[in-house]
């Protein structure tokens, strides 16, 4: 009886070990390529949210950057916020110009961990929703149904509100970095 249990436990152990070893291997092999791709995507995203900027200085690791034009002139900052959406945190990259208006936003894709509803909440990634943020100041960041000027995605209020509030709070938290030396 004891022998049988031992045998079962052993087989399970072997299976788990094979699995763990295989996965460690795969992870080690793929990690450099994945990191490389991530860095590349981040750079192109930063350039997209803060138009005109070519050089980015990381102020807070993976959260805040200062963007400058090739001439060295400070154009603004870019930061990441993770407001709580419907299915989880919605990673949003925001570009803020020195005149404190929003330059643009990019919402992460489902492949990058965004877990909003397919076909609905996911529409916060669409151009029409993102373009609403351009040129807005912090006080203007409010949905129409909350008294402001921004349209929410139909049947995805929680997702839309999350992004709007996330951007607003991000501006509040990071705007002081627009002044160099902070």
């Amino acid at each position: 009886m004891k022998r049988n249990t031992f045998k079962l436990a052993f087989i399970l152990f072997v299976a788990a070990s094979v699995s763990a070893t295989t996965l460690s291997l795969i992870y080690t092999v793929t990690k450099p390529k994945i990191d490389e791709y991530r860095t590349h995507t981040l750079q192109s995203n930063l350039k997209e949210v803060l138009e005109g900027a070519t050089e980015f200085e990381e102020i807070i690791t993976d959260t805040l950057w200062r963007g400058a034009a090739s001439s060295g002139e400070l154009l603004g900052i870019a930061f990441k916020v993770f407001p709580k959406g419907y299915g989880g945190p919605i990673e949003t990259l925001v570009g803020l110009k020195v005149d404190t208006t929003i330059a643009g936003i990019i919402v992460a894709s489902p492949a990058e961990g965004m877990k909003e509803t397919p076909g609905l909440g996911i529409k916060v990634r669409e151009d029409w929703f993102r373009d609403q943020f351009r040129g807005r100041k912090q006080q203007e960041l409010l949905l129409k149904k909350d008294g402001g000027a921004l349209d929410a995605v139909t049947a995805a209020t929680i997702s839309s509100r999350a992004v709007v509030n996330g951007v607003k709070e991000g501006v509040e938290r990071y705007r002081r970095h627009l002044v160099e030396g902070e």
Binding site: K84, Y86, G87, G88, P89, K115, A155, A156, T157, I158, R161
Partner: protein, 198 residues
């Protein structure tokens, strides 16, 4: 007062407005498999309440007291599944001994609770929403009750549908799904309750 209103809204949102089956669309497999008899559905519902609430407690504790302080967050999926699988195993042994008729009625769907998207989903949602322990409790209870309510409703409806005159190709599952469609449409009506949205 604020605090209890907040807790009430968390419960209500999980129970009705963002009902796990009809709105969030998670945990559907048992919805159609176990719902031909009201008694079976209720039994399934209670099993899920148990597993969902207890597993979300344990997952919460494991996450906040063991994983986060030690930088092991990436182990959360694996550890949550282990917690759930163990609970289901324990439940299976308990039911087989004390409620054998329910055990047989649930059949394959009992071990399948382990892979039920709803249980794992709730564990993750509680973490992602940053719920405190009490908020987790209310969210999980609300979700589990919402689950039980919905599968019981459809079981009761299906018991009657079995006796109704229905075109041959629609008998059984198709008409059940049309019923579910109407139910989901009805639940969409809860949007806006106490200002809660989807």
């Amino acid at each position: 007062m604020e605090e209890s209103m907040n807790l009430f809204l968390i419960f209500l949102s999980a129970f009705l407005v963002n009902n796990i089956i009809l709105i969030r669309f998670i945990g559907l497999c048992p919805y159609f498999g176990v719902s031909r008899r009201l008694s079976t559905a209720l039994g399934m519902g209670m099993a899920v309440v148990f597993v969902m609430v207890v597993s979300s407690w344990i997952s919460w504790m494991v996450y906040h007291w063991a994983l986060v302080p030690n930088g092991l967050v990436y182990l959360r999926t694996a550890s949550f599944i282990v917690v759930i699988a163990s609970l289901v195993q324990f439940l299976e042994m308990f039911l087989r001994r004390n409620f054998s008729h329910l055990y047989t009625a649930l059949g394959i769907y009992l071990p399948l609770i382990t892979t039920n998207c709803a249980i794992l989903g709730v564990a993750f949602l509680n973490i992602d929403y940053g719920h405190s322990f009490i908020e987790t409790t209310l969210f999980s209870i609300g979700t589990a009750f919402g689950f039980t309510l919905v599968i019981s409703l459809i079981a009761a409806l299906r018991e009657r549908l079995d006796l109704a005159p229905i075109p041959e190709s629609f008998k059984g599952n198709p008409i059940a799904f049309i019923t579910a469609s109407l139910m989901a449409l009805a639940f969409l009506g809860f949007v806006g309750l106490f200002g809660l949205s989807i």
